[in-house]
Symmetry: C2
Subunit: 267 residues, 2 copies
C-alpha cells in the first residue's frame, strides 16, 4: 500500500510542515520506501518531483522539505510497491494534459482485473494498476466532456461514478486534481482537515516538529489537507466514509458525494 497526501488552499501555501511528516513514513516511521513523488500546481501547470529512493533519505525530498514551494494545490505520494516494479516509471503522481491543463493523480490501494480499456486517448507509460485507472478515468472524462464545461458539477459527479465503479475491483483511495479543483475519493482510508482562523499550533506525529500557523497565515487563509492517516496529533482530522468523495476548491470542501449518488454509474 501507499500513503496519499494532498492540499488545497485559497492562497499559495507551502506544504513543508506536512511534507516533513509524510517523508518520515517513506521508509522510517512507515514502510513506504519504494519511491515517492509530489506535484505543486503553478496555475494550470504542475511542477513535479519524482524519486525512486526512499523518501526519508532522499536529497530531493530534503530540498522540498526545506525550500518552501508555494502552491494552491499539491498532490503527493509515498509508495510501497504492490503492482509494478520499483522504478521511476511506476512512481506516482501521474500527469496528463486535458483541456489545456495538467491533471495530476495519486492512488493508494490495489485493483485486480479492472475491465477498463487503456487503449483510448491516454495510455499508461508504466505498469501499475494505478496509472491504468488514471488513464481510464481521463479517457472517460475526455470522451464525455471534450471541452472543459463552464459548470463543473456534472464532471465531479461523473468522477465519483467512475471511482465507485473502479472501487469494485479492489482498494481505490484516490486524490486527483485538474489544477483548480482537488477531488479525494475514499475507498477504505482517507482523512482530511481544514485549517482556518483562529490558527493554532500543530504537532507532527512522525517527527519532532511543531508549527504555529498563526505566524504564517492571515485571517483569510483557508487550507485543507488530505492524508491516508492524520499527520498531526493535536488537530481534529475527519475520517472519510467508504465511497465518499469530496471536492475541494480554494481550500474548502465545496461538494460531497456519497455511494447513493452513483447509482447510475458505469465504466
Amino acid at each position: 500500500m501507499c500513503e496519499l497526501f494532498a492540499m488545497s488552499a485559497n492562497v499559495p501555501t507551502d506544504a513543508c510542515f506536512s511534507f516533513k511528516g509524510l517523508m518520515q513514513r517513506g521508509g522510517k516511521t512507515g514502510p513506504h520506501k519504494d519511491g515517492w513523488g509530489i506535484g505543486f500546481y503553478c496555475a494550470k501547470r504542475a511542477q513535479m518531483f519524482h524519486d525512486d529512493r526512499p523518501c526519508y533519505d532522499s536529497s530531493i525530498a530534503q530540498l522540498i522539505a526545506n525550500q518552501p514551494i508555494k502552491s494552491e494545490v499539491v498532490i503527493g505520494h509515498i509508495r510501497q510497491a504492490n503492482s509494478g516494479a520499483i522504478n521511476l516509471q511506476n512512481t506516482h503522481p501521474f500527469l496528463r494534459e486535458l483541456w489545456g491543463r495538467d491533471w495530476v493523480c495519486a492512488h493508494n490501494g490495489q485493483l485486480k482485473n479492472q475491465p477498463v480499456c487503456d487503449q483510448g486517448y491516454y495510455q499508461r507509460v508504466g505498469s501499475t494498476d494505478s496509472e491504468k485507472a488514471f488513464v481510464s478515468i481521463l479517457n472517460h472524462i475526455r470522451n464525455e466532456f471534450p471541452k472543459k464545461p463552464k459548470y463543473m458539477p456534472p464532471v465531479w459527479r461523473r468522477m465519483h461514478q467512475l471511482c465507485m465503479a473502479l472501487n469494485h475491483f479492489g482498494v481505490f483511495n484516490l486524490v486527483i486534481s485538474n489544477s483548480t479543483e482537488l477531488m479525494a475519493f475514499c475507498s477504505t482510508k482517507l482523512f482530511y482537515l481544514t485549517r482556518r482562523a483562529p490558527f493554532g499550533v500543530a504537532e507532527l506525529i512522525d517527527d519532532d516538529v511543531t508549527i504555529n500557523f498563526q505566524a504564517h497565515t492571515t485571517e483569510q487563509d483557508i487550507v485543507t489537507v488530505v492524508a491516508t492517516q492524520p499527520l498531526t496529533n493535536n488537530e481534529h482530522w475527519v475520517e472519510m466514509q467508504a465511497g465518499q468523495m469530496i471536492v475541494l476548491k480554494k481550500g474548502q470542501v465545496v461538494k460531497q458525494f456519497y455511494p447513493e449518488h452513483a447509482h447510475n454509474g458505469s465504466l
Copy 2:
C-alpha cells in the same frame, strides 16, 4: 533566446559535467536567467525538474549538478524569455504522452504567426510559442501515426518536414525525444559532439571544471551531447547546418535530414 542541451547515450550516463557548465549560463556567464528545466528518461518515463529561478543559483540545479542521475536520454533548457511570462507554466522542457511513452521537447528561438492549430488532441498549458509548436508537432504525428510504427524512419522524416515548416515562421532550434530516439533540428545554431573510446580529458568553458572521461567510462560507451553552444573548449564540436536534423539513438547519429529532404513537407 535560450540555450538547449540534450544527451543520448548507449548506457545510463550522468550529465553532471555538462550540466555544471550549462547552469552557469543561466544568469552568470550567460543571460538565460528566466528559469530552466531538465528531463531525464527512465525507460519510457521522463523524470522532470523545472524551476523559475535563475539556474546558476537554483538549489534544485545545485542538487542535479552534484547528484548523478543516470539516463540514456536527457533534455535540458535554460530560458531567456521572449514569448510568454516568466513562470513555471512557460518553463521548458514540455512533456506529453503519446504511444504510451513520454515525449519531451525544448525549443530555442521565437516563432511569429505560426499558422498551426493548437486545438487538436494536445493543447498548450502555458502561453509560449514553443509549447504551441510542440503540441502542433505532436498533433500531426498522432493524427498520421496513431500507433507507434515498428519502422520509425517515416516518423523521423515527418518530424523533419514539420520542423522545416515551422522554421518558416521564425527561429526554431529544437531538441525532442520519444525516449528511445532524440531528434535535434538546427534552425540557426546548434552543435553536437560524440564521445567514444579513447576517452580524454574535457574542460568546461563556463566553469573551472575538468573531467577525465576515461575514469568514468568503459571502452564500449558512446555518448552524444547537443548544445546551443559548445560546452567544452578542447573538443571538436560539430556545427549543424540550417535545416539539418540529426536522429540520435543509443548515443550515435543514426540518420540525418537536410532541407532538400523536406520538399513535400507541410503543416
